[in-house]
């Protein structure tokens, strides 16, 4: 039973993945706080560490081309354990989308709307997202190429505009921090932006693809998104130097420093708006996945009634998640990566191994 019958091309998947990762680029503060001027190395390390799991993700998708994550779990672990795991994933997806929604609201609050309450912003965002979610995967991913292009253009443009303030010395000294922080940073980067790609296990049945294509699109999407993330980190460190760990959103401060002539200097808000749009894409995708997971778990044929309900759930859940941005930063650095690892790396790996042992997809074909 497939709930959303929309089909997207594998190229759209590529852009979707890229955009999904790019949107994380604005919230690199959790990383720069720990690893400072070496953050760019950590981003690279994280990407390399995640690569095998990306392959795993692609393989899982190729093994079960017609089933989404909940159905895979059902099949691999049996109905009871599968349902329990499914519920756990539901929690995971809901939390993920709420966290991102809160991020969006907090970012907006911190950059352009200082006095507006965050729930108002999340509510508007959810209402707009709901338009896309109701129409299904086709509309959700439709504008990802646009967002990717906008993101790349913004990054390139801003890099050019601050290139005169870019100092190579800012990257020195290299490798002077304790080894623990490198490990921690790599873990964070592998789980928080990259690992979240596990949500695509809910979407892949809607992608028209062949076995080879899916890995290719995943990889290229990952490459584009990862590169953007990496170059953003590079730019921020190069420009901000030793102050990079001071700010909650380093990219924004970088944009603040942009000066094109004496009259156009306050450009950071425009960049903030673009970053908000990127984050909006991620939220819409996560929102869609959360709604889809619920309807899949409870076997609801049409999820249209669910959309706004889940949306309001996300807003309220987001309100209760973290009492303050500081608490959130702390948990992002310490607890979140550990829990996320379970969902993003351990369970998929286990599923893959079990499926291989039980030779599951083959039995199905026969």
């Amino acid at each position: 039973m497939r709930i959303d019958k929309g089909q997207i091309s594998s190229r759209l998947l590529l852009f979707s993945v890229a955009c999904f990762l790019q949107s994380s680029a604005l919230l690199t503060a959790f990383l720069t706080e720990i690893t400072r001027q070496d953050s760019w190395i950590v981003v690279l390390l994280g990407a390399i560490v995640y690569l095998p799991f990306l392959w795993l993700l692609g393989t899982l998708m190729a093994m079960f081309p017609e089933q989404n994550l909940i159905q895979i779990l059902d099949e691999v672990y049996g109905p009871v354990l599968g349902k329990i795991l499914g519920l756990a994933y539901l929690w995971f997806f809901l939390t993920l989308s709420s966290v991102n929604l809160t991020d969006l609201a907090d970012f907006t609050k911190g950059t352009i709307m200082f006095r507006t309450p965050a729930p108002a912003m999340s509510a508007v965002c959810i209402l707009v997202s709901a338009i896309a979610v109701r129409k299904g995967i086709k509309l959700v991913t439709k504008f990802s190429p646009l967002f990717v292009i906008v993101a790349i253009v913004t990054m390139t443009l801003s890099t050019f505009l601050v290139i005169n303030q870019f100092k190579l010395e800012n990257f020195l000294p290299i490798f002077t921090l304790p080894a623990k922080s490198y490990f921690q940073g790599t873990h964070i980067i592998a789980t928080i932006p990259f690992g979240e790609m596990v949500v695509y296990l809910m979407i892949h049945p809607n992608v028209k693809f062949s076995r080879r294509e899916i890995r290719k699109s995943l990889f290229w999407g990952f490459a584009v998104g990862g590169l953007t993330l990496w170059s953003t980190t590079l730019r921020d460190i190069g420009v901000l130097g030793n102050t990079v760990d001071l700010f909650t959103v380093p990219s924004l401060i970088t944009f603040r420093l942009v000066q094109v002539g004496p009259s156009i200097s306050r450009t950071e808000i425009l960049f903030a708006i673009i970053l908000i749009m990127l984050l909006f894409y991620k939220i819409t995708l996560l929102y869609y996945v959360a709604v889809l997971t619920i309807s899949q778990l409870f076997k609801i044929r049409s999820y249209n009634h669910l959309v706004l309900v889940v949306g309001s759930l996300m807003i309220t859940y987001g309100l209760t998640l973290y009492p303050s941005p500081q608490k959130q930063a702390a948990s992002v650095q310490e607890t979140v990566p550990v829990i996320w690892t379970v969902f993003e790396i351990l369970i998929p790996t286990l599923t893959f191994i079990l499926a291989k042992i039980r030779k599951l997809p083959k039995a199905k074909e026969a």
């Binding site: 102050t243 603040r256 200097s265």
Partner: protein
């Protein structure tokens, strides 16, 4: 069947429309437009100054506010010349924000800092240390990191209140002057961010342009009169304009400054075409530091006086030599001053930190004394490819018509 489906669709549509309408209605009614601030309810701050309050340990916050005036209606009265361009608000408090909060009680509009053009500290306050006052500028959402900072020679409120001929307000004037000066050398432009970044690095001394007010035939004027040297957030001394030039030459990336040189033969002013300084920091075995500055560049002749009776081709090497000596001298002079103050205005310490992080750990604590014992060698190499519009000076050989 179809009719039923159509009906269902309509019902769904309608309920959706109703929900959205209700939601937007609620948003509109309940909002109150949190962030909305109309322009006519704002005081646009164009300058902030911190000073020591007289006879107390408080500080004075002075705000300069750009005046807006309606061009329509009731304009007949505003013809008087007495109108000042800016409003000055003053209050004292323990910290900047404390003072500003007090200001809220005697201003008719809310204060708006995003367009602040300059932050001024009085030298008196600066000598006592600025570190404790910087937190406000770092934390406040509205304050901008790229605002230029200044130290004033004398009380700050006088400078902000200056009624200038050239620009609308002192804040704007200072911002423009710095913008203009940064075309000469980027080191003139000290933004809040630079100041913070340098203050954060313990061993580096920050420099901030100094500004002074003076009267000239009934007109009040402001001028940049050098740079204040900070160490650990405290002002130690200041460089005058001449010494500042030495600092700028040592830092390199010079765009367009004038270098004045004099010898018994004549007097010349050079314009830099391009001038860059490469710095080579070496650690000596005995724990000392050796710094080698190699200045390379091209100069143009801006003005020439004297050199009577000399042949033009002969003048050029002479001039080159003069310029090189001059630059060397100027750099060394400023360096000596920095050494005597133990103030690492050149950020040599952080260069060592970057290149030799391990040795730096040992040096860090005694950096002041190490710095004051730095060996400086300056290598200057300039060319004079440009002579301006005229090849020769009127007083020179070949210029006179008697030759013919």
């Amino acid at each position: 069947m179809i009719r039923k489906a159509v009906k269902m669709l309509n019902r769904q549509r309608l309920s959706l429309i109703a929900t959205v309408l209700l939601a937007s209605l609620l948003i509109t009614l309940l909002s109150g437009c949190w962030d909305n601030r109309e322009l006519d309810s704002l005081f646009i701050v164009t300058g902030i100054a911190l000073d020591k309050a007289p006879d107390s340990d408080l500080i004075t916050v002075t705000l300069q506010i750009g005046k807006t005036e309606s061009k329509t209606g009731a304009s007949s009265e505003s013809g008087s010349q007495e109108d000042k361009n800016a409003i000055i608000l003053k209050a004292s408090g323990r910290t900047p924000l404390h003072g500003i909060k007090r200001l809220n009680f005697n201003s008719s509009r809310s204060l708006f800092y995003e367009h602040n053009q300059a932050v001024l500290f009085s030298s008196e306050l600066a000598r006592e240390g600025l570190k404790e006052y910087l937190d406000f500028f770092l934390r406040d959402y509205e304050s901008r990191m790229e605002v230029p900072v200044f130290v004033t020679d004398g009380p700050t409120d006088r400078i902000l209140a200056v009624d200038l001929e050239q620009e609308q307000s002192a804040g704007m004037y200072l911002a423009r002057v710095i913008q203009d000066l940064s075309k000469l050398s980027p080191y003139y432009k000290v933004r809040m961010l630079d100041f913070l970044s340098r203050t954060r690095e313990e061993t580096v001394s920050a420099l901030i342009p100094m500004v002074a007010a003076y009267d000239e035939e009934d007109l009040q004027k402001l001028q940049i009169c050098g740079m204040a040297i900070f160490k650990d957030g405290k002002m130690l001394d200041s460089l005058n304009n001449y010494e500042t030039l030495g600092y700028i030459l040592a830092m390199g990336d010079v765009k367009l400054i004038g270098i004045e040189a004099q010898s018994e033969k004549g007097h010349v002013i050079f314009n830099t075409i391009n001038l860059d300084t490469k710095r080579d920091v070496k650690l000596r075995q005995d724990g000392g530091v050796q710094v080698k500055l190699s200045v390379e560049g091209a100069l143009g002749i801006g003005e020439l006086k004297g050199f009577n009776g000399m042949d033009f081709p002969k003048v050029i090497p002479e001039l080159t030599k003069m310029a090189e000596e001059r630059i060397k001298e100027q750099i060394a002079e400023t360096f000596e001053k920095a050494k005597s103050l133990e103030a690492d205005i050149y950020a040599i310490g952080s260069e060592i930190h970057r290149k030799h992080p391990k040795k730096w750990e040992q040096m860090k604590s005694s950096w002041g004394s190490v710095f004051s014992n730095i060996d400086l060698t300056v290598d200057v190499k300039v060319e004079i490819p440009e002579t301006g519009k005229s090849m020769i000076s009127l007083e020179m050989e070949g210029a006179s018509h008697e030759d013919r």
